[in-house]
């Protein structure tokens, strides 16, 4: 799977849904772009409602925390998000599934 997204769609510091099926949420921290599955594996809350502090995304529902770089769950190890590769071609972002 590969999708292309306009860079301006990802505002700095704001979690943004970039695809609805499968749901993918993106984040731009001012330096790097990140993309990951957009539904919390705990209680299926949409992750764009959460907050990001440093590299940790905290779900708005029950505060599960995820590393936005690799999707790993910090609060419940083993219950992570799918993490995507984001390539910046200058104008667009190319979001791809990571190689196994």
């Amino acid at each position: 799977m590969e999708i292309k997204v306009k860079k301006e769609k990802l505002e700095e510091g704001k979690l943004t849904e970039i695809l609805d099926r499968p749901k993918i949420v993106g984040f731009f921290n001012g330096t790097e772009y990140f993309a990951f599955s957009g539904i919390c594996p705990h209680a299926k809350w949409p992750l764009e409602l959460g907050t990001v502090d440093d590299c940790t995304l905290t779900c708005a529902g029950h505060s599960w925390g995820f590393n936005i770089a690799d999707g790993k769950c910090k609060t419940n190890p083993g219950r992570g998000l799918k993490s995507y590769t984001v390539l910046d071609d200058g104008k667009d972002l190319i979001i791809r599934e990571k190689a196994e």
Binding site: H62, K74, R79
Partner: protein, 436 residues
Amino acid sequence: MGQASTLIETKTKRILVDPWIIGPCNGNAWYTLRHKAATKKNIPTDVDCIYISHEHEDHFQKETLQEFNKNTQIYVCKFPTDRFYNKIIELGFNNVTELSPWKAETLSEDLTITSIKNQDLMFEDSALLIQSGEGTVFCQTDCKMDFESLKKVSATKPDIGFFMYSVANWYPDAYNYPKDKRDQIAKKRKSNKISGFVNYVDIIKPKYAIAYAGGPLFPHKSQLKLNDPINGVFGCPDEAKHAWDISGKTGTDVLVMAADDEIGIDGHHVKNDEPILSTNKMDMLNELSIEVQDDLNKRRKDEGEASEKLPSMIIDYFNKIISENPIARKYIDMKIQLIAEGKNGGEFVFDMSKQNQSGNFATEGKIDNWNYFMKIPAQLVQKSINGEMLWETLFLSCRWQGDRNPDQWNEHFINLLYDPDPNRITNIYKMYEQTH
């Protein structure tokens, strides 16, 4: 009425939710947020029915329930296992009905109640929706709800919603952290939970929201520091209201209610007591602590001593639950050190590492390379081994010390202790492995 205990009166019925009103719970440690302990006179025994959301003692408290007629209609959620239903039957109640999630139960011509089950694979919990011609009330209890269910509740346009706002857990206080780190974790946890309150209210958008089912009071003199309103992890309802008020979100009035206060469906608030707030908590706690100290000490003394057979019982118990649940061990993958402290206690090692195929999972002894460490009063270990007290209840008491290496939550271990029935565990991991 305190914690999640809520009495809902319509023109035709009186429904009591999660009655914990008198006495302590969770290992003689927790009290409700009242500045004077409730007595039996505070218990509304003349209700038409009781809904109990789940098994934790701050929602399902035997001392309060014993005051009710055993014919009282009790409703619970239909969970994957019958364990909670059976526990209520064991108390002598003979009119217990399990409600299928999201299937409305008609109580009278224009009154229904709907049980809403959480989606967690491992822990059973539920919320309740009450709909009548007079209005709609939502009680979250402390159910961690999935987003779709919240949207469904929102679609019913509740007039009043009761929402959890505080941590009610042993993390980080039971663990051996340096003070700075403990305070940092506590501050973040408290803040996250209050944000969760704001988000729940914002999604459901009732006309009026009440912060409840929050942190308890720990009035025993050995635990007073847990109540610290600044560095403690347990919040007060005024903090939830403040967070809502400054969030910029609109459409709901958040109210602070004291135990025994009343609210009409039109939001009319009758104040019958002084609420416990972050500003007056310690003064009120100190009064309560003096009031209940002798009783609490007596209750703790009445816990008795561990049996001389406790060491062999611990070995047998853990060998059984670990050997019967290889799939759980695969995910737990830890070595655990238990110190049962006090008379007839001892030191025990539980090897739940996934590579251990020896069958010799529980032994007496001490190791340095533990992943999880527990030092627990022996008489409380005895109660959990006997099945008289959930391990979670013991942990929630905060009357123990723990440590973790690595420092991370292991839901699989807590889940095994919650109910080690092999059928339950097998079913859970069948589902778990389909989604992970």
